[in-house]
Amino acid sequence: MSGEDIQLPRQTRGRRPQFFENPESDVLMSVVLAMAGELSVLYDRVDAMQRLLDRQGVLDADALEQFQPTPEDEAERAARRQEYMQRLFRVVRAEAAVFSSKDAEEVLESVERELSE
């Protein structure tokens, strides 16, 4: 098979547990953790860049401050930010996912009924 256009599912089947009194707290926790993850990713990238530039002796601090993206640069940066939004707010979209939480709960209950003794 080709597999060129394979898209894996984004959301997990099953009821997402709620731990806090208000459901929005659970959602906010997810967003904060995703945000923390992306910040860490960004830090690693900047760190890698600084180390490489330092080793090669080519880091010009002024050039970095005065950086102006070309239209091509900007298109790539915009696409990256879109991907970032999808990742950051994945959980906000869970309710609208194909397999709704309600369906998933019914399936889980029916499986437990059928299979447990």
């Binding site: 098979m1 894996l8 860490s40 690693d44 889980l108 499986v111």
Partner: protein
């Protein structure tokens, strides 16, 4: 940090993808060490006295500990962060798997053209509902989703995700559980020279291959109900030069002759099954083993071996990690299950094997000589990793 897989189906990760995976491993490390220690402390310091007053006795089992903790903020924060970290495991590997899916599927086809082992799928096999209707471990798509004909990408998702999940503790081939237990048995039983062995519920074959490596004379068979993971396992085993015969089959109904195997084993498998299926699997294992043959299962230790809090700590996955049968299994007495399946009662054994990857070869060899007991860290990812298993001779 998770590091890279050491086999030919390894897929390249971009800089940000690697950083994302590293972050999730770090987050899991924080939750499973720091927050888990906080939770234990808060439970014993604040929650236990209050619950004991209310109940008139100390919480006596995993369920009572769980109920006592539900309104506690440390439990809520620990659990919410652990669920999120679990979801982020799969999220962190999805993009590279999607990008490389075509390449992975081509490797499966290529392996089939020049195989030393074999792959036999059964498109007619009816998948059990505990696989087809759930996303076990919160992995979207589970083991069985196919995103096109011949697709193995859920296998790749599971392989790459479990490296992040285990924070690299299973070693670059993810074989630590199989390797630690196979070597433990070889050291303890020098007479063990199997000619034919069977792995049940093998998924990626990551715990199949270490048994093949430890007993290189044996013919190795491995089964699973899900085609995508079997395709991946087959290509992965071929790429590592380990011929294994993979077949799509349900362990509750084995298509093998009576008395045909010297060893039948599984790794982290039984706890995903409903109890009635566990009973069938054990009876089938008994049937296909030759007299004197060895059956063993690596598992989480049973609740009866642990204090109530430690039982609760392991049962967490049953409530929140889409593994609904995990607690029911851990509430069983393994010796009683094996006796029901026809194994002689005096042949039952249970051991705790130290992790080869964690301790290194020398310390491992020394520890195998001394033996170990089930403790609060057995089967969990903490300081000093060890693996519980039980079994019997037919």
């Amino acid at each position: 940090m998770p590091g890279e897989l050491a086999h030919d189906l390894r897929i390249p990760r971009r800089l940000d993808e690697q950083a994302r995976q590293d972050f999730v491993s770090s987050l899991r490390g924080f939750v499973l060490h720091d927050m888990a220690n906080d939770l234990r402390e808060v439970y014993h310091r604040d929650v236990l006295p209050e619950a004991t007053r209310r109940l008139g006795h100390e919480p006596a089992d995993s369920g009572e500990v769980h109920r006592a903790l539900k309104s506690n903020l440390t439990f809520q924060l620990y659990s919410a962060m652990r669920v999120n970290a679990q979801e982020m495991v799969w999220d962190s590997v999805r993009a590279p798997v999607e990008r490389n899916a075509a390449w992975i599927n081509a490797r499966v086809e290529e392996a089939a053209r020049q195989a030393q082992g074999s792959l036999t799928l059964d498109p007619e096999l009816e998948l059990p509902r505990n696989v087809s209707a759930l996303d076990v471990h919160l992995m979207p798509g589970n083991y069985d989703s196919e995103h096109g004909p011949g697709d193995a990408s859920q296998g790749a998702l599971y392989d790459n995700g479990t490296v992040v999940f285990f924070m690299g503790l299973l070693g670059p081939d993810q074989g630590d559980i199989g390797r630690s237990i196979a070597r433990f048995m070889r050291a303890r039983h020098p007479d063990l020279q199997p000619q034919k062995m069977l792995d049940l519920g093998c998924t990626l074959g990551h715990n199949t291959l270490p048994w093949a490596e430890t007993f290189p004379e044996a013919e190795v068979h491995a089964i699973d109900v899900s085609a995508p993971v079997l395709r991946y396992a087959f290509a992965r085993a071929e790429s590592m030069g380990r011929p294994v015969h993979f077949r799509q089959m349900n362990a509750t109904s084995l298509d093998y002759e009576d008395n045909s195997f010297d060893v039948v084993w599984s790794s982290m498998f039984l706890h995903e099954l409903p109890l009635k299926d566990i009973r069938k699997v054990l009876r089938e294992a008994h049937r296909v083993l030759r007299p004197g043959g060895l059956m063993l299962h690596m598992e989480l230790p049973p609740n009866k071996a642990l204090p109530a809090y430690d039982g609760f700590y392991l049962d967490w996955d049953s409530w929140y990690n889409s593994e609904p049968f995990y607690k029911t299994f851990r509430d069983q007495d393994p010796a009683a299950l094996l006796a029901e399946a026809g194994f002689p009662a005096d042949g039952f054994f249970e051991h705790v094997a130290p992790s080869v990857n964690w301790y290194g070869e020398d310390t491992f060899d020394q520890a195998v000589g001394e033996g170990a007991a089930v403790g609060k860290d057995t089967g969990r990812l903490a300081e000093g990793v060890s693996w519980y298993f039980f079994g019997a001779r037919k």
